[in-house]
């Protein structure tokens, strides 16, 4: 072990070893993946999966990225033998590679300080998302999520109230004559979040066996298994 060249070649070889395992080989297997068909349940016909996101949802992904939402929220559902995600109503089935095919950037996250969002679109509605962003404690008392007030603006009500204004409970309503309007960033983010749904059953991700537990969902409407 005395020569520089030997050291260099050895390092290159060890580096190439792990590079082949985790960059090249997955690329060979998954790099050419395309849309696929869902496994039909009952007499339903197979559907194309996943579907492309709307432009607004893409813009929302950028807001999600810029504000580092992935620091607290993952976007992947564990298999039933590895976690209680499915029983918590976070998803119908485990997440698989196919689910992320059309996302850019892919932000799976690595820590759950808030609930998993892989299927948030299945359990949320637009006004609910705005309320959570405006003040998370309106929906989940004692939530540790910060409020994202800077995604909203307060307007003086013009001739008529705006149809985009968010509906706040009385005690949080703005002073009379004013209304809270989500900025375009908040709208894009809501579009992105509503688009988060991994609801196609695939060959590699069939529906899990039905749980028989007293499951309590996170803090949202409990997800119902698809028909």
């Amino acid at each position: 072990m005395n020569g520089g060249p030997l050291l260099f070649v050895g390092l290159l070889a060890t580096m190439a070893f792990s590079w082949t395992g985790f960059i090249l080989a997955p690329q060979i297997q998954l790099g050419s993946m395309g849309q696929t068909n869902t496994v039909p349940i009952g007499d339903a016909s197979p559907l194309t999966y996943p579907l492309a996101q709307s432009g607004e949802a893409h813009a929302g992904a950028e807001i999600y990225r810029a504000n580092g939402c992935a620091a607290c929220h993952t976007e992947m559902v564990c298999a039933t033998n590895l976690g209680t995600d499915v029983f918590r109503g976070w998803g119908l089935r485990r997440s698989v590679a196919e689910d992320y095919l059309l996302q850019q950037p892919v932000m799976l996250g690595s820590q759950r300080i808030g609930p998993d969002l892989a299927n948030f679109g299945r359990r949320a509605d637009t006004n609910g998302i705005y309320l959570r962003l405006y003040d998370p404690r309106l929906i989940t008392p004692k939530s540790v999520m910060p409020a994202y007030r800077f995604l909203f603006e307060t307007h003086k009500i013009g001739l008529f109230p705006s149809r985009d204004a968010i509906v706040l409970p009385d005690q949080d309503a703005p002073t009379a004559g004013y209304e809270i309007i989500p900025k375009p960033q908040a709208r894009a983010l809501a579009a992105y979040l509503l688009n988060l749904r991994q609801d196609g059953y695939l060959f590699e991700a069939p529906p899990p066996p039905q749980p028989k537990t007293n499951a309590v969902s996170t803090n949202a409407v409990a997800a119902k298994p698809a028909k």
């Binding site: 260099f8 998954l30 999600y64 504000n67 580092g68 607290c72 564990c78 976690g83 910060p146």
Partner: protein, 448 residues
């Protein structure tokens, strides 16, 4: 080289301040939330980027250059280029961190630096790294010492993983979930191989040198070096990642096999310091290095335990991982590097080692040790508690999170101690620089 170290320490202080800020947010989620620039997600990314690119890389490279000069009995090749490289690097990091706070993060953990900043960083690294290689090349022809392999390994490893991540995440983004595998692979390589190589290079140099004893076995060190290079970067995929199972299994095998280099390194150091392990009398450089190595051992073992399927089902995506990261970054790397700097800085400034203010030094050591311990243990408790409670579907998510708040708030105390210790270190460092300037000035006056 002093530029590298000085800027690295400033970044370390900034990173730990940002960490403290985010830790405080768990006491009051409304804290500074109305400022988009200081919201949790952005500060989290900025903290990570300023630690990794502001502190870790320059500190590791600075240590590497010094060791290559020392062990090769030569002088630094192209000091001007290194200086310019350091300035460019720091400018890029400053702009990048500011960019992240303005919402420019790439969204990949460990690779948060905005895309426009990445080529500048790479260029600056090349300027410094190539000088390192030339320094290595002009060494005296003697048998290579283990620290030299580790340094050269680290110097090569970083540009390889950095360019791979830049190409497959930013230039030609891989499709779908492959981005996540690349990001996880990059993070594992950064922590285990790059930081591991750099920190261990320091330990392999200072422990035998300051004890005045030869290293127990060069062969064992070589064995540890190659196995760490082979298995250290071979993993990082969470057990429940949405990937084909073979990738996850491969990652598990690689992670478990890191037990081989860990055992080899522990055995080697144990045999070297056996009968000479007196922590209280030990030299302060040694004390930092011992503690750093010990934390490295715990963090590496925790990484293996956390990868085992029976454990990862509970601990994945909880504070367990954050605790391990805290231990690698502050407990191992910052600790070992602090020790090394207590030796390197006086030798660079041509001052005696006694020129450090001993009081500040002691405050630094104990505050850092206590701070890292408190942070680590409370995050570990929070992580295990979160995992165990979540495994029961009867506990709602928010209940579980509220129950982890107590240990999380405890960890703020640890973060505060770390911030104080680093501020003290920086003050001590500044004191040394001033002494050196005064000496220069006196010498010049006498000459006149």
């Amino acid at each position: 080289m002093m530029t590298l170290f000085g800027s690295a320490l400033t970044w370390l202080l900034l990173a730990s301040l940002l960490g403290l800020l985010n830790s405080l947010k768990f006491h009051a989620p409304g804290l500074l939330a109305s400022q988009p620039y200081l919201s949790y997600g952005r500060v989290h990314a900025a903290q990570s980027a300023s630690f990794l690119y502001g502190f870790a890389v320059p500190a590791a490279v600075g240590l590497g250059l010094w060791l290559l000069c020392r062990l090769g009995r030569t002088t630094l090749a192209g000091p001007t280029i290194v200086f310019v490289g350091a300035i460019v690097w720091n400018t890029a990091v400053t702009l990048g961190v500011a960019g992240i706070l303005c919402g420019g993060s790439t969204g990949y953990e460990y690779f948060e630096m905005p895309a426009w900043c990445v080529p500048i960083l790479f260029l600056a690294y090349l300027m410094i790294g190539l000088c390192g290689l030339f320094t290595f090349h002009q060494r005296q022809p003697e048998r290579l010492y283990p620290s030299q392999w580790f340094v050269v390994g680290a110097l090569f490893w970083f540009p390889w993983i950095f360019s791979t991540a830049a190409l497959t995440l930013l230039c030609m983004p891989a499709r779908g979930v492959l981005q996540a595998t690349t990001a996880w692979w990059y993070a594992r390589n950064f922590d285990t191989v790059f930081l591991g190589f750099a920190g261990l290079a320091s330990a392999f140099y200072f422990i035998p040198k300051l004890l005045g004893r030869p290293l127990h076995s060069h062969y064992l060190a070589a064995f540890a070096f190659w196995t760490l290079a082979l298995f250290g970067g071979f993993g990082g995929m969470p057990e429940s990642a949405p990937l084909p199972l073979w990738i996850i299994s491969l990652s598990l095998v690689g992670t478990v096999l890191t037990v081989v280099p860990i055992l080899a390194i522990v055995l080697n150091f144990y045999e070297t310091v056996r009968h000479h392990l007196n922590m209280l009398d030990a030299d302060h450089v040694l004390r930092f290095t011992y503690v750093g190595l010990f934390f490295w051992l715990i963090a590496s073992v925790q990484q293996i335990i956390g990868a085992l399927p029976s454990v990862s089902g509970i601990t994945d995506f909880t504070w367990f991982g954050a605790a391990q990261k805290e231990l690698v970054h502050y407990g191992f790397f910052a600790m070992t590097l602090s020790g090394a700097l207590y030796y390197i800085v006086p030798s660079l400034l041509k001052l005696p080692t006694s020129a450090w203010c001993p009081k500040l030094l002691r405050v630094h050591f104990w505050f850092m040790l206590l701070g890292v311990l408190i942070s680590y243990l409370s995050l570990l408790v929070a992580g295990i508690g979160q995992g165990v409670l979540l495994a029961n579907t009867g506990n709602s998510f928010i209940e579980v999170m509220l129950r982890t708040m107590m240990p999380l708030r405890m960890s703020t105390l640890g973060d505060l101690l770390v911030v104080v210790s680093i501020a003290v270190f920086l003050a001590n460092f500044a004191g040394m620089v001033m002494q050196s300037c005064r000496q220069c000035w006196l010498a010049r006056k006498e000459a006149l």
